[in-house]
C-alpha cells in the first residue's frame, strides 16, 4: 500500500534539535524552578563586600562604636563598625550557601556510588556485614560527631566539608538504595531482563538516569539542611573564623539589651532564606520524583 500524503508541515529544523526542544518543554517546570533558584543564589552573591568579614571584627565594640538601630537607610540597623547588617547577613547566608552546595553535591555523589555498589552487589554476602555496621553507626547522633570532631579540629574549615559530605552521603544512600531496589523490582526492569538485557545495560540505561534525576531533588532538599547545620555549629563556636549567622548571633549575645537588632535581623534573614529554599527544595524534589527522603542529621 503506498504512503498516503499528509497535510502535516515538515519541520525545517533537524530532528535532534526538535527532540531537544521537546525534551526541554517536558521539563519546563523543573527549568522554571531552577531559574528561580539560581536567580536567588545570584542575588546572594552580588553586591559590595567589606574586606574583613571575621565576625569578631564585625562585632567588636570599642569607644568608636557607631551602631545604628534599624531605619530607612539601614533596614536592619548597623554593626558596631558601621557595616549595614542586611549586607552582612546576606554575605553570611551566601557563604553558608556556597559551602552547603558543595557539601550537598559531594554527599549525594557519594550516596549514588554507595547505592550502585550495593546494586551491583560486588561483595556478594559481605555487603550485609557493612550494612549491620552502618546501622550501629546510625545509632550515634550525627551532631555528636560534628561537635567532637569540630572541637578537636577547631579553626580548620576543611573538616566540616569532608565530614558533612561523608555523613550526608551515608544518610542519603538510604534513599538511593531504596530507589534502586524499587527500580530493580519494577515492571520495566523485569521486561528488560526478559528481553535479554544484561544487568549492566539495565543499570546504565534505566537505573542511573533515574538516580541522577532524583539526585537533583535530593540536593535541593539538602541545601537548607546543611545551611542550618553550619549555622548551628557556628553558634556553638566550632567553625572558627567563618562568617555565618550562627557566629553572628553568638558574638552579638552580650549586646542583647543594648542592641537587640544585632540578633533579631540576622535570625529573621536566616529564617526567611531557609523557608524559601526549603519550599523550592520540596518543589524541585517533587518535580524530579524524589520521594521517601529520610530525615537528615
Amino acid at each position: 500500500m503506498p504512503d498516503s500524503p499528509t497535510n502535516k508541515r515538515r519541520s525545517r529544523l533537524s530532528p535532534p534539535l526538535v527532540a531537544a526542544f521537546a525534551r526541554l518543554w517536558r521539563e519546563r517546570w523543573i527549568l522554571a524552578l531552577a531559574l528561580i533558584y539560581w536567580i536567588t543564589i545570584g542575588w546572594l552573591f552580588l553586591g559590595e563586600r567589606p574586606v574583613d568579614l571575621r565576625p569578631e571584627r564585625l562585632l567588636a565594640v570599642d569607644d568608636s562604636a557607631q551602631w545604628l538601630p534599624p531605619g530607612s537607610v539601614h533596614w536592619l540597623g548597623t554593626t558596631p563598625g558601621g557595616e549595614d547588617l542586611l549586607m552582612v547577613s546576606r554575605l553570611a547566608i551566601a557563604s553558608s550557601m556556597a559551602r552547603a552546595v558543595l557539601v550537598a553535591f559531594g554527599g549525594v555523589g557519594l550516596a549514588v556510588v554507595i547505592a550502585l555498589i550495593g546494586s551491583l552487589d560486588l561483595w556478594q554476602g559481605r555487603w550485609r556485614f557493612f550494612k549491620e555496621i552502618g546501622e550501629s553507626f546510625d545509632c550515634l547522633p550525627a551532631m555528636w560527631v560534628f561537635v567532637v570532631i569540630g572541637a578537636g579540629l577547631s579553626g580548620r574549615w576543611d573538616w566540616f566539608l569532608g565530614l558533612a559530605m561523608l555523613i550526608i552521603g551515608w544518610q542519603a544512600s538510604r534513599s538511593m538504595r531504596l530507589w534502586t531496589d524499587q527500580l530493580r523490582q519494577s515492571r520495566h526492569h523485569l521486561v528488560g531482563h526478559g528481553l535479554g538485557l544484561s544487568t549492566r545495560q539495565l543499570l546504565i540505561r534505566r537505573i542511573i538516569p533515574v538516580l541522577l534525576r532524583r539526585s537533583v531533588g535530593l540536593i535541593a532538599l539538602l541545601i537548607p539542611v546543611v545551611v542550618m547545620l553550619e549555622m548551628s555549629l557556628g553558634f556553638l563556636g566550632l567553625t572558627g573564623d567563618w562568617l555565618n549567622i550562627g557566629t553572628l548571633v553568638a558574638e552579638a549575645q552580650p549586646y542583647l539589651l543594648e542592641a537587640p537588632w544585632l540578633i533579631i535581623g540576622p535570625g529573621l534573614i536566616a529564617g526567611g532564606f531557609i523557608t524559601i529554599f526549603s519550599i523550592l527544595g520540596f518543589a524541585v524534589a517533587r518535580a524530579t520524583g524524589a520521594r521517601e527522603i529520610p530525615i537528615f542529621l
Partner: protein, 284 residues
Amino acid sequence: MIQFVAQRILIACLRLLIASLIMLVGIELAFRLAGGAIDHAWTIAPELFSGAFLNDLFFARLIGSSLVFGLGFLLVLFVGYGWGLVAARLRWLQARLWLSAPLALLSCFPIFWVLVMVAAYAYWIWDRPGFANEIAIEEGPDWLGWWHAAVQGLCVGAGPAVWQLGAVSAIIGKSAAQPFVGGLFRAGFRESFVFYRHFVRGSISQLCGLLDRTVPCLIGGLIVAETAFRYDGLGSWLVASALGGDYLGMFVAGWCLTLPVVAIRCFRECLERFWDSAGDRSDA
C-alpha cells in the same frame, strides 16, 4: 516472641558497644591525631569504671535532658501520628500542608535564635530572667523548669514532627491508591469504614517502622537547644566538654545520648514483629 525480644536486646547491646567504640575512635582521631593532644582517648577508663562522673550534677543533667527529650518526642508522636492520621483522612483538602505549616515555619528558623528570642522576650515583656540558668526554684513545684523544658521540646521537636506527619500521611495515602479500594467503594462501604479498617490497619506495620526515625535528629537539636538556652543538660555538657577537651564528658554524654536511639530502635523492632505475628494469627 520472648526469644525474639531477647535476641533484639542482645543486638541492641552490641550496637551500643559498637557505637561506644566509634565514639572512642572519633575522640582519638579528633583530639590526639588531628588536634595534637597529649592524652589518648582510653585514658578515661579509670574514671569511667570508678564512676567518677556519677555526682548530683550528672543526675540533674540526665533528668533535665530526659525531660526535654521526652516532651519533644511526645510532640513528634502526637503531631506525627495524630495529625498525620487527620491529614490522611482529609487528604482531598490538602490537610497535610496546612496542618504542618505552623511547625514547618518554626522549624525553618534556627533553634538557637528562637530560644535566644524567647529568653529576650521573657526578660523584656514578663520582667523575669530569660535563660534557664538565671534562676533556681528551691521550694514548691518547679513550673519554671517545666516551662524551660517545654520551650526547648517544642523547638527541638518541630522539624521531626513535620517530617513524621508527612511520612504517616504518605504511607496511609499509598494504601488508598491500591486497586481494591475502588471495589470497596463500589460495594457500598462508607469512606470512614474503608479508611480505618483497611487503610490504617493495613499500614500499621509500616507506621511502626517510623517510630525511631526521628530520634537522632531530636538528639541533635537537643545539643544545640540546651547550649543556646543555657540549660543544664547532657547536650550542653557535651558541648562544654568538647570545647574544654574533657574526654570523659564527651564519652559519657555521647553514650547517654545514644542510649535512647538504641532503646527506641529495639522497641520498634519488637513492636513490628509483634504486630506482624498478631496479623498472621488473625489471618489464620
